[in-house]
């Protein structure tokens, strides 16, 4: 089965429909009798709602209903899935997040009213005649202003804009290490706010069956079971067996489709009120002001070193934007997915990190590809570069000198995590060879001859995938478990249906998971189907985020397969009149080694469903097994990225001359898909470094609210990539896999900025924030020259 098993670049099953335009995305669905919802959103960042007059809108052509918060008074607010505690032990502030604004709006785009009509344009037309009397209030936009004592409060009932004040590590020990250090490097930086921008806008269709009381939500989600749990239990009060959540083909997520959104509640609730299906599809302009944003940290970081460039201590202080309300997983992103990553690949003995989470009158901020880990990697790889420059050390050498060594694993970091495996120098060396690091000086000289500034930058990242185990994350504030479930249903004629709680929205699970099954069962790839995205079909699932699908979901599949094989051995033993202990399963056959006794997998499957010759007194018929897998630990992909840039000093334009990535993802199931994941992540990271920024003005208006203002990376903005791997296998899952979805976005921003600063060093530029737009680079060059 080597052609379709583990390690083969099998062409993707899902592409057969996607390249024909035959995918089935949520907005492609239309239900009989469907109505259309249009959501009226706040044009103000912060205002009281003095009154709402919907009378004219209710009379609009085709209007079925108009709802405001008053109509939804009986249902709950949107819940938050993670409770962080401040360093003084107090729980975070958790103000209510109403589905429709209650008396006050807190960000531009906050939903105020919903119009439901026979057509989308009728709903939109009618919404224009809703009269809302707003009392505009000062907007809290800048985080530094938000945390001052006299700042306006985003939430009156909280009284402060500091959601929590969290810390990790022992500040006194770290301070002492700093006071004894030969050298201290320090850096103030901004991790720019981003908008995820999956190309498929969010969509939700609610449906209700009055005869059975059954609700259905079709939605663009990365985790339909999580949405069912949150909406059913905490918002609508509908039990699981009366609520189906279905997420069909989903056009990209990158985190933004993890979260439970108001629109999902509105359409589901309204469908029951009206006894008709209700469909809502976001305009892109709406996506910009209603999808959760990402990043948005303001940070001070310091690194203490001895005279040989060995790291002695790291200290970080960050303000992390939460936006106006707490999105589903927002509180854990700058804490447990950020502070815990600050050791990076280095044996830094002591680390202290403090994070204040801040409410502002902006769109909620939550996980976006990488989620906390890009912010950790960025500050760490930037400060390492600063230290190398200040000490006159080669940036590769300072990293090597501080790497955790292969013989130190398992390695307990000072920030809670235990790394299981890794070989950081192997990735660094391979990336440097690939990039011809030794030849850089010659390339720089030829750029200089052409009037260009050339620079090279390194980033050695680590990330943590498959957040777990559940009891640990529970103790840290998670309000859910973080296992995954899988059912293997062997059908009577030997085909296999895999019901997985992981959700595929571009990752290619229908192919990768089938490869795992093909390898383990030795059966034809084409006889395997992967079923996902429907709470009515899948036993349970926590979904796809944090690069967890293969490490957690894949392991659940393997564990269920092991149960199938174990039961198959019992059936085969009966058929072959052999002892169960003598049966082995090899290449799709149950065999008694050393004899010619064998039963094909398909024969055993048929026997399980037609149990004429079967040990019925000892064994149930059928061949279907379920496994829930709760990992013992995270997995820790790591690698090194080397970026080379050429900067035009006359225009400030940065051209990426080459980009070399070497990643250690452990075992790789499908190299073609893994390379694709890296490419995509790299461009999202390069987009953050060079192009993308969510910009608010002082009134809380989003200035970058469309593709004309928010610079998405286009094909001509980025290069082709050189992508390579090294392998150390994960030691605590059976496949040895680590996860690859986020690495590119985590590792690339500091590689790009380090390269630009390396290029600009000769003209005296030492500081530059993302995105390094031509304007910003040009200004940095001019102000360096002026001073």
């Amino acid at each position: 089965m080597s052609g379709t098993g583990i390690g083969a670049s099998v062409r993707r099953t899902e592409d057969l429909r996607f390249v024909r335009g035959a995918g089935k995305y949520t907005d492609d669905m239309n239900l009989l009798g469907q109505t259309y919802a249009y959501i009226l959103r706040s044009p103000h960042a912060h205002a009281t709602i003095n009154s709402i007059d919907t009378s004219a809108a209710s009379q609009g052509d085709g209007v079925v209903a108009v709802f405001t918060a008053e109509d939804m008074a009986a249902i709950g607010g949107i819940p938050c899935g993670w409770q962080v505690h401040s360093k003084d032990g107090s729980p975070m502030h958790e103000p209510k997040h109403p589905v429709l604004a209650e008396g006050k709006v807190r960000h531009t785009g906050d939903p105020v009213a919903v119009v439901i009509a026979e057509s989308r344009s009728q709903a939109r037309d009618a919404a224009e005649s809703i009269e809302v009397d707003y009392g505009v209030l000062p907007a809290v936009v800048d985080m530094n202003d938000a945390v001052t004592a006299d700042s306006t409060s985003v939430h009156d009932d909280v009284g402060t804009n500091i959601c929590y004040d969290w810390a990790l590590g022992d500040p006194e020990v770290v301070d002492e290490a700093f006071s004894n250090a030969a050298h201290v490097a320090s850096l103030d930086l901004v991790n720019n706010r981003l908008i995820p921008n999956a190309i498929e806008p969010r969509c939700a269709i609610g449906d209700f069956d009055q005869a059975t009381g059954q609700y259905t939500l079709h939605t663009t989600s990365q985790n339909p079971h999580v949405i069912r749990l949150l909406m059913g239990a905490f918002v609508l009060g509908v039990p699981e067996h009366k609520l189906r959540v279905h997420a069909p083909d989903v056009g990209g997520g990158f985190g933004s489709k993890i979260f439970h959104y108001a629109e999902e509640i509105i359409v589901t609730w309204a469908a029951a009120q009206l006894n008709r299906p209700v469909k809502w599809t976001a305009d892109r302009s709406e996506s910009f002001i209603s999808d959760a944003h990402g990043r948005d940290h303001v940070t001070k970081v310091e690194l203490a070193l001895d005279e040989d460039g060995k790291f002695l201590a790291l200290r970080e202080s960050t303000l992390a934007n939460m936006g106006a309300y707490l999105s589903t997983f927002a509180p854990c992103i700058p804490t447990y997915l950020h502070g815990t990553l600050l050791a990076g690949q280095y044996a830094t003995p002591v680390i202290y990190c403090e994070v204040k989470a801040v409410f502002t009158n902006t769109v909620p901020v939550d996980a976006y590809r990488g989620a906390g880990r890009p912010e950790a990697t960025y500050l760490l790889e930037r400060i390492v570069q600063v230290a190398a420059d200040q000490l006159g050390m080669d940036p590769a050498e300072i990293r090597r000198r501080n790497f955790i060594q292969p013989d130190q694993f398992p390695y307990q970091t000072p920030v809670a995590l235990v790394y299981d495996t890794g070989d950081y120098d192997a990735s660094l060396s391979k990336a440097l060879d690939s990039a011809d690091y030794a030849g850089f000086a010659a390339r720089k000289a030829s750029s200089k001859a052409a009037g260009k500034l050339r620079g090279i930058g390194i980033s050695s990242y680590i990330e943590a995938c498959g957040i777990a185990p559940s009891n640990v994350v529970g103790s840290l504030g998670a309000r859910a478990g973080l296992y995954e479930a899988a059912t293997i249903r062997v059908n009577p004629t030997g085909s296999v249906s895999v019901l997985t709680g992981s959700h595929s929205h571009g990752q290619g699970h229908e192919t990768t998971f089938a490869q795992v099954v093909s390898e383990k069962l030795g059966i034809d790839f084409d006889s395997i189907e992967i079923v996902h995205g429907d709470t009515d079909k899948i036993p349970f699932g926590m979904g796809t985020y944090g690069s967890r699908s293969i490490a957690v979901g894949g392991t659940a599949i393997v564990n269920a397969l092991d149960k199938i094989i174990a039961k198959g051995k019992k059936i085969a033993a009966h058929l072959l009149e052999a002892s169960e202990a003598d049966i082995e399963f090899e290449d799709g056959q149950f065999v008694v080694p050393g004899t010619d006794k064998a039963k094909a997998f398909g024969e055993v499957a048929l026997t399980a469903y037609v149990p004429h010759q079967y040990p019925l007194e000892e064994l149930e018929p059928g061949l279907e097994e379920t496994a829930f897998y709760d990992p013992k630990n995270f997995t820790f992909p790591a690698g090194t990225y080397v970026c080379e840039v050429e900067v035009d000093p006359e225009t400030g334009v940065v051209d990426i001359a080459s980009f070399h990535a070497t990643d250690d993802f452990g075992t790789i199931i499908n190299p073609m898909i893994v390379e694709g994941q890296v490419h995509g992540g790299l461009v999202q990271g390069i987009g953050q470094a060079l192009l993308e920024a969510a910009c608010y003005d002082d009134n809380g208006q989003l200035l970058s609210g469309s593709y004309m203002d928010y610079t998405m990376p286009r094909a001509a903005d980025v290069p082709s990539f050189s992508v390579d791997t090294t392998v150390t296998e994960c030691e605590h899952n059976p496949l040895g896999v680590k996860g690859c979805g986020e690495a590119g976005a985590i590792g690339s921003p500091p590689a790009v900025i380090n390269a630009i600063l390396n290029a600009l060093a000769e003209v005296g530029v030492t500081e530059l924030d993302m995105p390094a737009t031509p304007h910003r680079v040009w200004q940095a060059i001019r102000s360096a020259q002026a001073s």
Binding site: V19, G21, I199, G252, G506, R714, A715
Partner: protein, 157 residues
Amino acid sequence: MTVAISMTINGQSVSADVDARTLLVDFLRVNQRLTGTHVGCDTSQCGACVVHVNGKSVKSCTMLAAQASDAEVTTIEGVANGGELHPMQAAFRDNHGLQCGFCTPGVIMSALDLVSVNSDPSEQEIREWLEGNLCRCTGYHNIVKSIQAGARAMREA
């Protein structure tokens, strides 16, 4: 205001009375249930809605259905030859030129128009041609490879 329109879509004659403000993309998706053409933005930037009108790629979100009256329209559903993928579609699959698949129909329709005017495009020519197509998944690397492979297969066909 309602207008009567007729056009040929993927070789089939179609007539309908539509609201005059109906965009071509909505006519295709809602009226004709040809949901392979997607909508990813509202400012004519993303290119998920690209179709061919009289053989040229256009953003169907930026054209009224009435403007396409009497035209020959080809959507992604009209590209394959029955059960057999078009060489460009096959090239996207062979080169992993898509992930979530949402931008893919528009990218393939753009690529086919490129190859119609330049049968052997360079990497740079492809990247510049794709100015009107956004992809958030692939980083474009494999889209470029796919289009080059698709163009090669079309030349050799």
